[in-house]
Amino acid sequence: MKLLIRNGRVICPASGLDAVADVLLEDGRVSAVAPDLSAPGADIFDAAGLVVAPGFIDIHVHLREPGFTHAETIATGARAAAAGGFTTVCCMPNTNPVNDSATVTTYIVEKARREAIVNVCPIGAITKGSAGEELASIGSMIAAGAVAISDDGRPVMNARVIRRAMESARALDVPVIQHCEDLNLSAGGDMHECVESVRLGIRGIPAASEDVMVARDILLAELTGVRYHVAHISTRHAVGMVAFAKQRGLPVTCEATPHHIALHTEHMKPYDSNYKMKPPLRCEHDVDAVISGIASGAVDCLATDHAPHAGDDKMQEFERCPFGITGLETALGVSLEVLVHSGRISLSKLIALYTCEPARVIGWKGEQARGALKPGYTGDVTILHPEYPWTYDVKQTASKSTNTPFNGRTFHGGPIATVVGGQVVWKAPGF
């Protein structure tokens, strides 16, 4: 079983490689990267004129299975991931039941093995039922295949509980991923607290609700020595504090979502739930700070927070709608536009944000090593075009849900083919 991807511009930031070369995948792994490789019997993918990158990794998605399969399933979420160029996704534990035990972790791993066309790595809950009180069976979940722990969507408010979780995670060498939101400060809020929220009469979620938990957690990360990761960072002060933690040498990382760098409150269509998510779209100065943080390295990687919700859940009064938007299929188009075409970062840096950087945050090792086109790494490749114009039509989505603010938007550049374990699992229509 061989696949030879020929004549593409191979960009592998982890290897410092940016040159026209061939990539040979053999038995599901990267076998060689060099010009003019010969591989008798291999399937050939002609990538001339295209960019060949390590398989993209999204460490923050919601696949809704088990429990909410009307909105998404492991199979459909994986197809949406492939259509967005992603080869590995890490799914958050807020399913029903919550992924707080080896049983649920195993269920997801097994279901994904049978039905998902990309790699699916579960993230286990920090606390039982993500209720924030009693630690979940962290070690057992990790043994069953979980790659990190998080109570995403339900931040751990009790500082003592998160401290104990950090100690456990440190011993297991997995990161703790926190959705940073002080629930007392954000209570009842449906959008960022600002002039717009006051004007629209919508209760606000102040930036400070994110900031205070980032501050607390960085102090506790120092206390415990854990690898600590801030999910979907969205405020300027939070970015500043993560940068400060890095300066002090702490293993603190963070991710930003494409929507938080592409949209701010003034882009919101009033009372349209496709603009409702947590953290909320922030002010322009916050967006600028997150983009600057990406350029400076304070922000480590991009992640979509793909959060499908069924149409009827989103067709309600704004304050009754659930939080979250889909994002897998638009991530590359959006981030090319905001970061690369604007001249803020290079294409190589953008690829790093989707490959070796998220891989470093999770810390895959040995047989699980990914995020680079190095021999022995998982045979996952994302083939993309950085310029071609296309328009996102949510009616064609592979996801079961359509809650996106980007429907009808024209992008320049996007995924062309997705290769997982040496096999082409998705190709853009027309290529």
């Binding site: 009842g188 002039v195 629209l200 009469g201 009033p270 009372y271 009827d312 309600q316 704004f318």
Partner: protein, 303 residues
């Protein structure tokens, strides 16, 4: 999108002027009741009130009847909403009954704006959450015009729970469009600083004495306890610092008028002495409510 009335913010000054002008024709005079116009005979108005209301609903009903229109009243407790039906489905059902307009009150900000994207029937917003209450601002403006003869250059103090007040927001937008100076006053937790930026000519004041000084109009607002999750102030202290009393009126313009959209809590945001004084225009507001709503409905129904 059909032309209804969703908010003052997006309504042109010229449209507001036409409504206020037309309302004069419907005002009651010499102790008689409201003029019967019958300009909307045969039209059906659905009054869909998903949040409790007595005065606004009665006002809209009387207004529709005076125009010769038929009305159908839907209240939340009597509707399918309590059986789990979505708002869109409920409204689509009502639309199938072919009304010419839907008058809607809802506890969620933006609910009529959201619905207007999915329905072809014009919607008149009778109050959405903490966002807007456009007909209240229109009747307030009619009342001020009746008393002061103008809006431009007036100093209008709006005092109380600004944060949760759709009345305040609609009035701020209307007064701003007509060049009045609006002073918003209340305890800090009920007066977001951002209010000063939602329209021009708005200033904030935390001291009631300064707010009423020189005011031509003082509008008092109720503290909306049902929307407050942690008490801003003890009730007694609230009255001490933000309750309107006779002594405040001596600081205001000599011809000051006192308004209140109701429901009014005597001894909490306003003293009985002031509420019953010659300066109060609270019952004129109620009268103008019918006249202004007749003008609004006539405009919407005659499209």
């Amino acid at each position: 999108m059909a032309l209804g009335l969703l908010g003052i913010e997006e309504t042109d000054r010229s449209v507001i002027e036409q409504i206020l002008e037309r309302a004069v024709a419907f005002q009651p005079h010499d102790g008689r009741t409201f003029a019967k116009a019958n300009t909307c005979t045969g039209k059906l108005v659905v009054n869909a009130f998903f949040e409790n209301s007595t005065r606004t609903r009665s006002s809209f009903e009387i207004a529709a009847h005076r125009l010769g229109a038929d009305t159908l009243a839907i209240t939340a407790s009597g509707s399918s909403v309590s059986k789990g039906e979505s708002l869109v489905d409920t409204l689509n059902t009502l639309v199938a009954m072919r009304p010419s307009a839907i008058v809607m009150r809802h506890q969620a900000s933006g609910a009529p704006h959201f619905l207007s994207r999915h329905l072809s029937t014009p919607i008149v917003n009778a109050g959405d959450g903490t966002h807007e209450h456009p007909t209240q601002a229109l009747l307030d403006a009619r009342t001020i015009l009746d008393c002061c003869g103008r809006l431009e250059g007036l100093r209008v103090a709006i005092i109380g729970d600004i944060q949760h007040s759709r009345v305040a927001r609609s009035n701020v937008h209307l007064l701003s469009k007509f060049g009045a100076d609006t002073v918003l006053c209340g305890p800090p937790s009920l007066l977001p600083r951002e209010m000063a930026s939602i329209a021009s000519g708005v200033t904030l004041e935390y001291d009631i004495l300064r707010a009423v000084t020189g005011a031509h109009v003082v509008m008092m607002l109720r503290v909306q306890l049902e929307r407050i999750h942690e008490p801003a102030m003890q009730p007694g202290e609230y009255f001490r610092f933000y309750g309107l009393r006779q002594e405040h009126l001596s600081l205001a313009h000599p011809e000051v008028i006192v308004m209140h959209p109701g429901p009014m809590n005597r001894g909490r945001e306003i003293s009985s002495e002031v509420a019953d004084s010659q300066r109060a225009r609270i019952l004129n507001q109620v009268e103008n409510g019918v006249a202004v709503r007749m003008a609004v409905l006539e405009r919407v129904l005659s499209q």
